[in-house]
């Protein structure tokens, strides 16, 4: 999706503003939505691909104006609504209905297990998928020119560019189909290096480079 979130290489966003001794949270509500988003996923079984999809659907002006945790709030309400965990009426103080039937089998996180949950992580690696690996380390590839209108992890600035496979990581859940259809398709992930001059032309310095981790469906053989 060619959204405002895909801002690598864009001009005009202004100065990078840094805060000395920045706290992790700037308000109590930021703490709460950070935790709600993380903890709710034990019941909804949604992951970062779904959250990113929702944030990318925000109206571009709102995306830029809103703070980081406001985006979490918007995405979390979208997902909670989608799976039937909340309604606008409930949020407005109306009577609260029961947990949706489809989610009752997913045990919610409990305090005594939070550290176990953190350490367990949420890997989307699919080892031993048996999916053949199409590209090898050292091979040159061209990235696709377009990835359609849904969620993708191929940024605009790295489309239709020639790069070199530096490392293959095995198969992972393909973000694009996971976000669009909740379908967990195993595809290979590669670290691909691009010369900065191939991405940005003469304004870049010779010898500088950018590395992206790319799903195999984004890549084409150079002679293809």
């Amino acid at each position: 999706m060619d959204g405002i979130h895909d801002c690598g290489g864009m001009h005009g966003f202004g100065e990078i503003e840094r805060e000395e001794n920045e706290p992790y949270f700037h308000a109590e509500w930021e703490r709460r939505i950070f935790a709600i988003t993380s903890v709710m996923s034990f019941v909804t079984l949604t992951g970062d691909d779904q959250y990113r999809r929702e944030m990318e659907r925000m109206e571009p002006g709102h995306y830029l104006r809103s703070s980081y945790y406001e985006k979490w709030l918007d995405a979390t309400i979208s997902i909670a609504t989608e799976v039937g965990l909340t309604t606008e009426d409930e949020l407005a103080g109306g009577p609260i209905g029961p947990m949706p039937e489809a989610l009752t089998g997913n045990p919610p996180a409990i305090a005594s297990e939070v550290w176990q949950n953190i350490h367990a992580g949420a890997s989307k690696a699919i080892p031993d998928s048996g999916v053949p690996q199409c590209f090898q380390t050292g091979e040159r590839i061209r990235t696709r020119a377009q990835m359609g209108h849904e969620h993708t992890r191929l940024p605009r600035y790295a489309r239709n560019k020639v790069g070199t496979i530096e490392r293959a990581w095995g198969t992972f859940v393909f973000a694009d189909t996971n976000a669009a259809e909740n379908r967990q398709v195993p595809v290979h992930v590669y670290s691909v290096a691009f010369e900065a001059t191939d991405l940005w032309g003469e304004e870049a310095s010779d010898g500088d480079s950018v590395v992206l981790d790319l799903f195999e469906p984004y890549l084409l053989p150079l002679d293809g």
């Binding site: 100065e15 993380s38 609260i96 029961p98 919610p108 996180a109 950018v210």
Partner: protein
């Protein structure tokens, strides 16, 4: 609009957001989808326990133990796991070494991917469009703004975290620290040094 007027509308907006978060929490607790103690525990973990001190301990170990450094660069997850650091936003950690030839810096241009188990939650600037848009395109200028002046002869490599890998930079050990123990070395290592936007 005056500054006062702006602040006033901002405050109102904040109040609205805070109320909406409260409303969502109330609904989810009533349905049994989240419980309040788990929320508190989650906040406590990321506000008081998981932060850049973790990464600094890893770096200090790598500076003092060449065998550890080798393991760290080859398999970040396993080597970092030796400290007990693992999990969310760090299932596939990769550590990249700064050298005399190349300076490395990390970004997520598409959102805010960041190696939580070793650096904790990211600062606002890392997640903001100005950093995300500029660091991939003009890294030398951005690094200079951060106070990192690199010689023209040194290459810069930017790591854009676009899939499942999360990156931490292993800074070069500063001169004159040969006599320091691991603990004292860890005190020298900054969060930005491990993002690549500072030298140590």
């Amino acid at each position: 609009m005056s500054d006062r007027g702006h602040d006033h509308s901002h405050d109102e907006e904040e109040r609205g957001i805070a109320l909406r978060v409260k409303a969502l929490e109330r609904v989810l607790i009533a349905k049994g989808a989240v419980n309040a103690d788990a929320l508190d525990q989650f906040v406590d973990a990321y506000e008081t326990k998981i932060g850049p001190r973790n990464g600094a301990m890893v770096v200090a170990r790598a500076w003092t133990d060449p065998a550890y450094q080798k393991r760290l660069l080859e398999d970040g997850v396993a080597a970092i796991g030796e400290f007990g650091f693992s999990g969310i936003e760090g299932d596939h950690l990769r550590v990249i070494e700064n050298t005399d030839e190349t300076h490395n810096v990390v970004v997520c241009t598409l959102c805010s991917c960041y190696p939580w188990p070793v650096l904790g939650l990211p600062p606002v600037w890392y997640k903001s469009p100005p950093y995300r848009s500029r660091i991939v395109r003009e890294p030398r200028a951005v690094l200079a703004e951060f106070g990192v002046e690199l010689p023209e002869s040194k290459n810069i490599r930017v790591w854009d975290s676009t899939a499942d890998l999360r990156y931490m930079i292993l800074p070069q050990r500063p001169d004159g620290t040969e006599d320091l123990e691991e603990e004292a070395l860890a005190d020298l290592v900054t969060r930005d040094g491990m993002i690549g936007t500072a030298l140590v």
